[in-house]
Symmetry: C2
Subunit: 474 residues, 2 copies
């Protein structure tokens, strides 16, 4: 007879207490294989509980395979004790180390965005509206490519603002650029060799490195990627940022664009990945039309995201595929469920169609231009000591310092003044290093006051000895 200690006052149901007790007895071998258990009636009587409670416990044990029920005979322990290891698993899981990086006052991060003007109340309003309007259907799985209405809204925007030649059917909406690049690498297959700008957008580099693709680094000059170097490689794909080279800031001129398209047209399966990462933020004239828009051979994969134009937390990007790649996607990968919440899709769709997006981008462009111009003005005061590149677009400016200090020395000196700097060298994928230490100065999330004070502090710290020396000489 089983004597099971039951705790009637416990929150754990009685059947579960019985189940746990018998399971433990079997696991530890105290109830050996083939032992016959008492009938549910007998056990119920001896424990003074209802028979259905015992039956529930037995059913659970049967479901999990600890005991079996032999019709017209009874319940028997199954042979598992010999399989159990007695050793407890070592608690190897160290608690997550929370790497608390102290945030400095003057953080010139090129990845920051300014959310102070984000239309929170509009977003909330649209969110509520969507949930009210569509209710249930919005909680069902939508189209894998992204909902058609959203793709149409994105298509219209890309056509009018970026000159992208696009039909909604070619657009794939996904959870951010990283995800879309992973998906794209699956569509392109494992056999590709990819040429990349050097310096480059490092996340894209790491994604292609992870496929793994052999990577051919190509020099970037003031007109963008070098076509001569590209033609000397065996690359089948090239990844470029023609509207605003990341991180150096070059705009690829029309001549080089046409040469690049010609390179792609020459091979049977050559493709250009055009990452239009921050095309919304150009501070002079109108946005540079996309490379995709002037391609006549369907060789450009156009990639964009709402991370910068709306907010990074909105995990949403889009990719416009050439027809041949779209066919591969359709055949082999279109079964992947969408990676973007439908509610978010509905909100962004309304945000685009209702004109909120355009207004928001215009407002932010003005705001960023103001900060950009201010940073530039402050930097130009030191024009004899620094070189400035990559102005007029994006959310950072590249500055190189005429100094004998090393990059690390500059970083350390800056930190003493609560200034965080982001070196350009990190963006290179070869051993090549810039001649002088150079940094990306992001301005998006710094106030005007901090921009002015930050530049002044930095320059004083870096050049004070020179300044002192000069004043002594005079």
């Amino acid at each position: 007879m089983l004597i099971i200690p039951l705790n009637l006052g416990s929150k754990i149901p009685l059947y579960e207490q019985i189940y746990e007790y018998i399971k433990r007895e079997i696991k530890t071998g105290k109830l050996p294989v083939a032992t016959k258990l008492p009938s549910s009636r007998n056990l119920a009587q001896s424990l003074q509980i209802s028979r259905s409670t015992v039956e529930l416990a037995y059913q659970q044990l049967i479901s999990e395979g600890y005991i079996e029920s032999v019709p017209k005979s009874g319940y028997y322990v199954q042979g598992i004790a010999d399989l159990i290891r007695i050793t407890e698993r070592k608690q190897s899981h160290s608690k997550e180390k929370v790497e608390k990086v102290e945030r400095l006052i003057y953080d010139f991060s090129p990845f920051a965005v300014d959310l102070s003007e984000f239309p929170f109340s509009t977003w909330r309003k649209l969110s509520n509206q969507c949930m009210n309007d569509m209710n249930q259907s919005l909680f069902l799985l939508g189209e894998n490519q992204g909902d058609l209405s959203l793709r149409e809204a994105i298509g219209a925007y890309l056509h009018s603002s970026r000159g992208v030649k696009v039909d909604a059917s070619q657009i794939i909406v996904g959870a951010g650029a990283d995800y879309l690049l992973v998906l794209l690498s699956q569509i392109l297959g494992n056999e590709q060799i990819i040429a990349m700008e050097n310096p480059v957008y490092k996340r894209a580099y790491r994604i292609f490195q992870g496929v793994p693709y052999p990577i051919r680094p190509i020099t970037v000059n003031s007109d963008g990627i070098s076509i001569e170097e590209l033609m000397e490689t065996d690359a089948t794909i090239v990844y470029v940022t023609p509207s605003h080279q990341y991180p150096l800031g070059a705009v690829m001129p029309i001549k080089r664009r046409l040469e690049l398209l010609r390179w792609a047209a020459k091979g049977n399966d050559r493709y250009i990945i055009e990452d239009d990462h921050d095309s919304e933020f150009r501070y002079k004239g109108k946005p540079i039309p996309s490379l995709q828009g002037i391609d006549e051979n369907d060789r450009v994969i156009y990639l964009g995201t709402f991370s910068r134009a709306i907010a990074p937390a909105i995990r949403m990007g889009y990719m416009v595929l050439p027809q041949r790649l779209y066919q591969i996607y359709k055949e082999k990968y279109s079964f992947y469920a969408s990676t973007v919440s439908r509610i978010d899709q509905a909100i962004v769709c309304e945000f685009l169609n209702g004109g909120y997006f355009e207004r928001h981008v215009n407002k932010m462009r003005k705001r960023y231009k103001m900060k950009h111009d201010l940073l530039l003005r402050e930097l130009k005061l030191y024009e004899d000591r620094i070189s400035i590149t990559g102005e007029n677009a994006g959310l950072h400016i590249v500055v190189s310092f005429h100094t004998s200090l090393t990059e690390q020395e500059i970083i350390n000196k800056a930190r003493k003044q609560q200034i965080e700097l982001y070196p350009l060298s990190k963006h290179y994928i070869t051993d090549y290093q810039p001649d002088e230490p150079a940094f990306l100065l992001g301005f998006a999330n710094l106030s005007e006051k901090l921009i002015v004070a930050g530049v002044k502090l930095l320059m004083k710290e870096l050049f004070k000895s020179t300044i002192d020396k000069v004043s002594r000489l005079l």
Copy 2:
């Protein structure tokens, strides 16, 4: 001198009209390379517009590389006309064909969910609360693995309800199971050979096929995957659904679980992927504890999603990695940005911590149990003509028909009665077919009335000749 036709009443800004005109002239070769353009002052005078308007147009043309500015000389056309192809790109993009599949009245889809009890107002409330509480920070990019607070909430849930041994640091939150399986395959690398249940959850199969991994199909019997067959393969990983085999419904008994864990422990780099796809919905006793929870060698990758327990549109799943795989993730893939919107993360976190999730799942379990029992009861009336498997859990029951009709004949007959059936055969990854035509009867989104009527109609359609014959014989 350039004569540019300007439309003063147009919505297109004047500078853009000038820019477009000159660009077109250059592209078509009417302004040949090295042509000197009029100075901005002269062009402005001749067009009777402001000089800054002309300068803006010239700046844009310079940015895009159509013209260049030679200091102290003027503006010159760049050589690009020879690169331009005159041919217009063929409009090869066919408009998306909207495949409107007519939804039948009695749709026994195994993928459906019942959203009629979804706590929409709670969701809206939490959504608003999150947006109010956290405001700006919620729109910034969160942790790539998923926000710690959410991972802790998921960890607590998995520990208490599924017996998963878990630390929040091992959890990766991603945009659905498909995405997580793609990520997992990157972490595991290209060199794996994967054993899969046959029949299997087809999406997982297609994802691994796409990596590509060589796939070894393993027979499933009433205790789940065959360990004997598994041991005969060269597989390094195995994908299983032990709590509720998809699609057949077997619960893997403890003996087989231990054998499976022993298989994994024997090889140096063997892993088990435990897909706990619908573990919340078990209608007898308590949920089956996870395989991961009894593993003592850190060989089980545990995978789950909120698609069924909350709603398919919430694109959120989670994966618990063994330490060694977590290290690989950390080193090589942790730079991937999170694929889940932070607002959704915050809502789900509150949904879990506030007890809403538990209440919702309990309510849905009752509701689904009611439908499940009803479907089972109706089917049992025809027990001599059909076999039923996979009851007591999940959102479908597997039914095979004792009939000489082929699978397709049954589907066609059913459609005549507005009944949609989903064949089991589609879930096999080998040529092997079930002896008898078998189908997955999903019940989640059918009302009780439709379940009763649907079964009656189906049986009448399939067996009426027999019924007629029998009655004639009597």
